[in-house]
Symmetry: C2
Amino acid sequence: MNASNPAPRAPRSAPRAATARSEKAGAAAQRRILAAAEKLFADRGFDGTSVRQIAMAAKVPLALVNYHFGSKEGLYREVFALRAPMIIDQRMAGLALADMETDPDRKLELIIKALVVPNLHMRAAEKSPAYARILAREVSDPKSNERGVMAEFFDPVAQRIIEALRTVLPDRTLEELHWGYQVMLGSMVYIMADIGRIERLSGGLCRPEDEKATSEHVVALLHAALKYARTPPRPKAG
Amino acid sequence: MNASNPAPRAPRSAPRAATARSEKAGAAAQRRILAAAEKLFADRGFDGTSVRQIAMAAKVPLALVNYHFGSKEGLYREVFALRAPMIIDQRMAGLALADMETDPDRKLELIIKALVVPNLHMRAAEKSPAYARILAREVSDPKSNERGVMAEFFDPVAQRIIEALRTVLPDRTLEELHWGYQVMLGSMVYIMADIGRIERLSGGLCRPEDEKATSEHVVALLHAALKYARTPPRPKAG
DNA sequence: GTCTATAGCTGGATAGAC
DNA sequence: GTCTATCCAGCTATAGAC
């Protein structure tokens, strides 16, 4: 889509994120760039956002962006990497809680919450509604595979969740559990990424920003889905 | 993102889709353009696709695209409008079937199928896996609001589905029904738009292309979700 | 380290020959 | 109606002055 850059060569000196010391002067600029990029990538997508817009919004000169992050895609990956660990840690913590629960019904609910709540929370917190939208966009973007960020960051924890499901629902086939996971993820991602359609369609009854109400409804629905749904195993050949 | 075009002026003579008569010469070219555009928009998104790529893939001269469709966005809307009625008609037909069913449990299942099956079918049919991905992308694209295609084409049938849910689940609050709808839609959209992650994560167990197996699992999950989930109504003030 | 200026492209759109 | 040649805005990335 631009001057062919087969090898995305690293920035000249790779000024890693504030190695130590109080803080170099440029650190503030870097943070402003990241914040601006997060918002713009969320609003307008990777292709729909130009480095110039980011520099403008961050009030830094154009060249600083490439200086600090090497390339537009480097900046994107950095935006992604900045908050991914947060969500992943929260999911892991949720799973640990679920692991301690003995009542299978409550355990299932905790597993679902481990997956759903950190994301809805991030969506709702004034901290970063933008990041949730980037995440949601990434899973349905074919170029996501080229970038590989989803697989790199999120596949491992996804496997952990399916593992956990297997322990509370031992009578299900692996196929059922995987489809259950996909339904959970799809619901969550869709709601996270919502751009106003949910509120419009519901005449204001459903507001994804209302983290508590949203969690309650969504968790209840997904809990019922996983608890009660059975799909009869199908014969191998038609 | 390009030469500022405040008023997207119509094509010079608006050569409407083959008015009548056997077919003008250019009709074949138009169809090739639409087919190429559908595929490319699905693979690479609106911003990631250039009119030149479309013209190249359709094997028509560059100028023909703008001649027939006025602008890149005009072409996009045409791609969208081409198949939307198909899905909507199928959903309506599904709802009509559900309306005739008296057993509430089977009725609920038919409503869910009315929403889910046409889309999964479109995803699976070799006819147009691309369109399903465009659709999925559109609901999570903030620019979708600018284009307005989702609201224009799909909001009405969405309301019809929620209406139908209200008749089979009369004891639920409107809020519960709307959240139920969003969970259904989210699951469906996510699965439709999948770009390989589902199959990768499940080690090949789940394949969205396998329309029959996918429908069975997803419908079973959503049916259980709507049938069994209850969210206690919350007091108005905290 | 920081930033201005610009190189080297691709983008959507169109004028004007046929 | 059809298509070639071209316009020029905007893009990413960088060279080179400070």
